[in-house]
Symmetry: C2
Subunit: 513 residues, 2 copies
């Protein structure tokens, strides 16, 4: 029965097993990756359902984050099937190589729950009915028969210890313990239970001497461009600071994320200063996580910068401000279909409203004219945008004509819809800002609106959105309707260029997680 473990010990050349079991072991052997003195952990995720692709394992991600925060270096994760031999050989190999082994899954009552049996086999132990667990089965399930399914929970390796965790919030001791065998901790597979157990037993893994320190640098350039500096930094700090380089294709703010990790804060800071000094100037950028709160400052800053782009933004803001002077927020809404043009428009309108009415109670109203079968990514982006900007979304179905008629029926107080189109679109070149009835108040205006709406829609609305996997582009043409004349329409043609880099930048960065 000691066979599996003995073979594993022979394979790694380790001796002195019983002594090593009594205290946490330092990592060694070819697979020991922690370069410092930290305790190591191996995680074994048990379950056919993961290997078959039915279920995504999230437990190892949680365990890795928690263990790192506790000063433990996770050296390996293995996903194995519900198979006694497979689990036993992995447990034996991991127990001999890492300070801690955490398993997850396979401790329920059914035939495919074989973890206790496998751990016993790994250590050459028998499985016994543990008296304390038998009492708990009786207490919780009211069962005492040795052969009942519930009693399988009490059948554990003979050297098992029972670890009662503590609820972090209440301070109460958990009623059911976690079983451990030597340095192997046997967690449940249900994520909520596993997370609760690990949080409640953090003291078992917490390192007194090890704290991981880390810093991140975001770089707005291609990885190839900084490779020589990274090689140099790695050669300089190897063994003291671990340096990771991760391209990100979804962010429009940065292209590479650099991570620096060390057990020494001093080494970390030295490496950080090294990189900030040696990286080409200007390519280390701040991480933008909220582009909405500072919108007014940023947008007006750009408008007042005098740059070519700034001048175009200033022209667009002037049109928006004119609309805000003429209509109250209750009378106004912004057309929004999830595309990059209207996302840029919404951002500019938000900036103008934020500046003009910083203490307003009303939400900015947004009109989404829903097509028959919108792309799911688009709908998600629209919902995310509603949350991000805190706007009031009004969804109307059908063609622009039907939608505007329905909107006026539902919200008769509306006087104007801000819409974005591009100066460079065909049919848009001849448009001027504030096309449509101005000054009139919700009255019928079919004749004066028709040409505008026709022009806009005949041009074909171009909608695009970005997914996390990269750009998804789709083009659909909205058939040209006759104008219902129910709602005053305020058309906002961007200046050339504004819809290009600005809109794309906004759209993709807003989509990033």
């Amino acid at each position: 029965m000691w066979g599996v473990l003995r073979a594993a010990l022979r394979a790694t050349g380790r001796v002195g097993w019983p002594a090593a079991l009594c205290r946490p072991m330092a990592a060694s052997g070819p697979a020991a990756v922690a370069r410092g003195s930290a305790n190591t952990a191996g995680i074994i995720i048990i379950g056919d359902e993961i290997l078959k692709g039915y279920t995504q394992d999230t437990n190892s991600f949680f365990m890795c984050r928690r263990l790192r925060a506790l000063g433990v270096s996770v050296a390996r994760i293995s996903v194995v099937p519900d198979d006694v031999e497979a689990i036993a050989s992995e447990v034996a190999a991991f127990a001999a190589r890492f300070t801690f082994v955490l398993t997850s899954g396979g401790i329920g009552p059914t035939h495919d729950d074989v973890t206790f049996e496998a751990v016993a086999k790994a250590f050459g132990e028998r499985v016994i009915l543990h008296p304390e667990l038998v009492a708990l089965v009786h207490k919780f399930f009211g069962k005492t028969e040795v052969q009942c399914p519930e009693m399988k929970l009490a059948r554990v390796p003979e050297s098992s210890r029972l670890n009662y965790g503590t609820d972090r919030h209440t301070g109460n001791t958990f009623k059911y313990p976690l079983v451990s065998v030597h340095n192997v901790y046997i967690f449940p597979g249900i994520p909520a239970l596993m997370e609760r157990a690990l949080d409640g037993l953090a003291h078992l893994f917490q390192s007194k001497q090890t704290h991981f320190h880390s810093r991140t640098i975001y770089v707005a350039s291609d990885e190839m461009f900084i490779t020589p500096v990274l090689d140099w930094a790695d050669a300089t700090f190897r063994g003291r600071v671990s340096l990771g380089s991760y391209p990100d294709w979804t962010s429009n703010y940065y292209r590479v994320k650099l991570t620096l990790d060390s057990e020494s804060e001093q080494d970390l800071e030295e490496a950080y200063r090294f990189l900030m000094r040696e990286l080409p100037p200007g390519i280390a950028v701040p991480l933008v996580t909220d582009c909405v709160s500072p919108a007014a400052v940023e947008v007006y800053g750009l408008a007042e910068s005098g740059s070519a782009l700034g001048q175009k933004v200033a022209a667009a803001l002037q049109t928006i401000e004119e609309a805000l002077d003429r209509y109250s927020l209750v009378q106004l809404c912004v057309g929004f279909n999830g595309g990059k043009d209207c996302t840029a428009l919404l951002h500019l309108v938000h900036a103008a409203v934020q500046r003009q009415f910083p203490a307003r109670q009303e939400r900015l109203q947004v009109l989404y004219i829903r097509t028959v079968s919108p792309f799911p990514e688009m709908e998600q982006f629209i919902q995310a945008t509603v949350q991000r900007y805190g706007v009031q979304l009004c969804t109307v179905e059908g063609s622009i004509r039907e939608a505007l008629a329905h909107l006026k029926e539902q919200q008769p107080q509306l006087e104007a819809v801000l819409m974005g189109t591009r100066r460079t679109d065909p049919y848009s070149r001849t448009l001027t800002p504030m096309t449509g009835p101005t000054g009139t108040s919700g009255s019928s205006c079919a004749s004066s609106l028709s040409p505008t709406v026709s022009s806009m829609t005949r041009a074909g609305a171009s909608m695009s959105c970005w997914t996390r996997e990269g750009p998804l582009r789709c083009h659909r043409t909205i058939p040209a309707p006759a104008c219902p004349g129910a709602v005053g329409l305020c058309l906002l043609p961007y200046a050339d260029g504004v819809d290009g880099p600005l809109a794309l930048r906004l759209c993709s960065s807003l989509c990033s997680p």
Copy 2:
């Protein structure tokens, strides 16, 4: 240099390696888990960032799903650090045990990209500059210097093969190949690139003789209750059908999901019939993924069933239908704050509207009175509910008094708000349906409304929602306002019991993913 691989071969007792490399190998050894004749795969995910908990691995989940669909049984997943020795020893062990090995990550230009070097080491090969890859680096990056960072992409094990995938959508051949060495396929770590490459190279892994068949049974009882039957089924079909049992704590429709898998459709159907026959009657339940479309049929079916619950639902429907007779959909909205009472109400109103106006264009309007700091789970549930029922959400901030005043200003056509409270709540016992002004049309009605609103709000609104981790409950009291008298209020007191099992059932099942 052959050391690592030779040791691995010795450890598993395999001989005849060079011959085995020429064709896919059947699985063997203690870790071979496929019980049938299927080709096996081992997945090696390479990256410090995953072990440190910075990044969640999603590549193995994608690979498992795709490989299974291709008839390949994934036997093991291993996550290893960016370390030549660690990668080499795992590649050597996996290459000897599984038909295919898929690695992911570590093939970029920077110092922490060491996969090619490690795979070469596993097979005792040298790393060479591959002429075809050198040409591609020149083509794509315009670089020819041997020492430039880009050239690292061309430095691969000497026996490398280049596999050009085919775009599934366009049928075009990819411009950049995937490198493989013997039975090891070296995928990129960026998910979008990895997924594209695997989909484009499916033919390399597709099995001609193996198809996995599977069935699922959802059981509305505790796992302990069915364990004897599962044990019996497992003993009867072991080796032919693999049976998995997975408790689900988040669904209110079922408690255990059983999966049956087999390479033989006949064996699978036999095992399925066995279980359906031997499981206690009535506990196998259909999986409900859409409770909205059949709402009218289900709700009216219940109302007409004559059961105690049915009678209460019938009484509630009568009140709703009276409101629908009196007000048009444009004049009506349903109060909704994400709690279980109003979720049940929304479901009943949706059923009544679906039955009365099946071809309607208008969306049902829903009023969400947002508190100052709502729980994020609640907001998510509200957004999900809006999507699920296809309703038009109107969010208003502040107290009920302020909210109703603001609502009337924004949407003056509104005449009535359907709200749900419980007959068993204090202050609700004395209420009758259609409390408030009936027949009046948006006129001021402060005095007649005050008692109702006061009663409702003094009772304290109980809001609860469910998260995927289990129930999250929260209770907050809305301060009793004076009625603004702006909007007619139609109060819908449920009959006793309707808000109990029905509301809870609705709420938790709707929340499940």
